[in-house]
Every structure is written in structure tokens, then in C-alpha cells.
Amino acid sequence: MAHKFFPKEEFLLKGHAACPGCGAALVLRHVLKALGARTILVIPASCSSVIAGPFPKSSYSVPVLHIAFAASAAAASGIVEALDKLGEKTFNVVVWAGDGGTADIGIQALSGAAERGHDIIYICYDNEAYMNTGIQKSGLTPYKAWTTTTPRGNPSFKKDMPGIMVSHRIPYVATISPAYPNDIVSKIRKAAKIRGLKYIHAHIPCPPGWRFDSSLTVRIARLAVLSGVWILYEYENGVFRLTGPSRKLVDKSKRKPIGEYLKLQGRFRHLSERDVEELQKLVDERWEAIRKDIMGENA
């Protein structure tokens, strides 16, 4: 019955060029369903430039501006202001950018657009590495994860990109996961109603990049949430709120051990038990901070 509660129309057309089991395709499908036809996508260099399919065809049935890697939020700024000046009334301008295109090379443009407050829905689809070029470490690659440029595990920590955007004091920041499409649709729709730059960060399991069987995309996404590695929340005008299954996970006993999430993925195969414990500790600390935050608020 799930299909009854979701918009029917498909804007991500079948026969696109994503790998089998691509989490990005799945999230984009629901994002576009939530927003409908009057949506312009701005897509920087990324897997999604390829998923589009080669000229003269496109698998996206909304208008798309493909753009250089660092440029998406700036291009979107121009589109929004131009459409506004040209008298268009109802439309969504959506940046659909990877983790590299958001947290690394694209952060300047994003930060600038956020400061100026253009009416943009900026979605970072975070498959935690540069996938289009073949799995290199990005600023959002998790600590210790294997990539081709970190053959023995990433020595850096994953940037807290939503946190950075919260520090930009934009009106809406949220996280989403392909395992929870209803959460996606409701957050995207909420974002569409708010004026200013909205930042939404999607967790995107990627079978070839994370080295798992393509059938496990949703399962892994779900485990990320249930183990507390990926936290579903939103910040509305600075007010923090856990959403969906994450709401219950402040209590550590409700969270699955992180090992369940890690062990399905080849990129974590080299981890020792100590490593897993270290990662578990980091997750727990993160939640402890959230707990304090929420308590503080209640107090």
C-alpha cells in the first residue's frame, strides 16, 4: 500500500545509468516525487552527471543544468534570482550534489549562497567518497574507511556538514536516508515551503563504493540509522529535533551495535576489533552530546 501514499509520477526515468542498487538514484527518485514537475535540478560533476545518461538523452524528466564541480550553489543562486526577476512564481530550485561537490570543492559556493539566503533546496547526497572517479576519499569519508586514496583507511574524520550548515544559521537543515522514504518526502516538502537556503543531507549507501552486494542498499541504510551512525533529525530555525526511528535511539540500549553496520561493507573489512570499538565510542559520544543538548533544552 506504500505506493498509495506517495506521488505516482516518476521523474527519474527507468533506463538511467546508475549502478544496480544505487542509493542516490533511490533518494533522487523520492525527492523528485515530493517536489513535482516545476523543479529545476542543478547537478555538479558527480555520479549523477552520469546517471543522467549521455546526450541527447536524459533520464531526468525535469529541467536540469549540469554544472562544473565547484559551482552548483552559485549557479542555483543565479537561477533563483533570474526566475524571480523574470516573474516566475512557483518553482523549486534544487541543487543535487555529492559529498565531494558539497563538503570539499563546493563548500565555498554553498557557504556563500547560505549567507545570502537564496531560495534553494540544497541536497547533499553523501555516498562518502568521490564515486564518479572511482572511490577516492572525500571530506565526508568516514574515519578509517578504505578508499583508493586511503588504502589503509582514512586518517581524517568525516566533516559534520549538517553541523557546519547549522552554524550558517540557515532556516532549515535536515538529514535523510533511503531507508525512510516517508521521512524524505515530508522533509523535502517542508523545505519547499520555507524561504531561504535549506540544506538536506542524505546518507547514500553505494554498492561498488562501499563494497557490498547491490541488494543490501536499503538494509545498510537502515542499519546506519538503527545503529545510530546516521542520525535522522532536523533543525528548524535553530531548533533541533530527532525524527523517525532516531527519536528512540537516545537510549544507547536501543541502538544496534555499529559492528552490524560495518561488517556488511567491504570498505571496513580491514578494521580490527579495537577499531570497531573506537568507532562505536565515537558514535556513543555523539549521542551523548545530543542527549545533553535535548536535556538542556528541556531543563
Binding site: M1, A2, H3, K4, F6, E10, L12, L13, K14, G15, H16, A17, A18, C19, P20, G21, C22, G23, A25, L26, R29, A52, G53, P54, F55, P56, K57, S58, S59, Y60, S61, V62, P178, P181, P207, D213, S214, S215, L216, T217, V218, R219
Partner: protein
């Protein structure tokens, strides 16, 4: 002097070709188990699960289904089996 041809790509199904041939395994629905819950539709990244007009059947478009197996893993009623494609 000729006008500009601006290189605009247009939406079509199968922009990357008949992606069905990418498939290694094929999802096969066991209609006896299927409750039409729609979960497979919900989670298919390739938009190839359709719930047929008369709402009686889950139909997979094998021309484009890449055989990722998500539907099979996610079906709460175990109604989708992945069957190895013949290597012709």
C-alpha cells in the same frame, strides 16, 4: 547565417539503453505471497516496479530492471526471488 543549435538533452526512458541487459539475476514475483504492500515499488532505485492498472499485480519492467535485488531483500513477505539470468 544559421541559428544556434543549443545542445539540450531530452528526457526519455532508456537514456542509458535497455538496462535490463545489465542484469545478473532477475527478480521474480511469487504472486501467491505478494500482498501488494508496495514496498518493492517504494525501494526500487530504477523505477521499474509498477503496480498494474487494475491494482492487482506487481509488474517489473525487465527491459530496464538491473536486477539489484533490493526488492527481493526488502519484500516483507519474501515474495520476490532472485533468479540467475542465463548467460546466453
Amino acid at each position: 547565417m544559421s541559428k544556434v543549435k543549443v545542445p539540450v538533452a531530452r528526457p526519455v526512458i532508456g537514456a542509458a539503453g535497455k538496462t535490463g541487459i545489465w542484469r545478473v539475476s532477475r527478480p521474480v514475483v511469487d504472486y501467491s505471497r505478494c500482498t501488494l504492500c508496495g514496498i518493492c515499488w517504494l525501494y526500487c532505485p530504477d523505477s521499474v516496479v509498477e503496480i498494474s492498472e487494475d491494482k492487482k499485480r506487481v509488474v517489473i519492467d525487465y527491459d530496464y530492471c538491473k536486477g539489484c535485488g533490493i526488492c527481493s531483500v526488502e519484500c516483507p513477505f519474501n515474495a520476490i526471488k532472485m533468479v540467475r539470468e542465463e548467460v546466453r
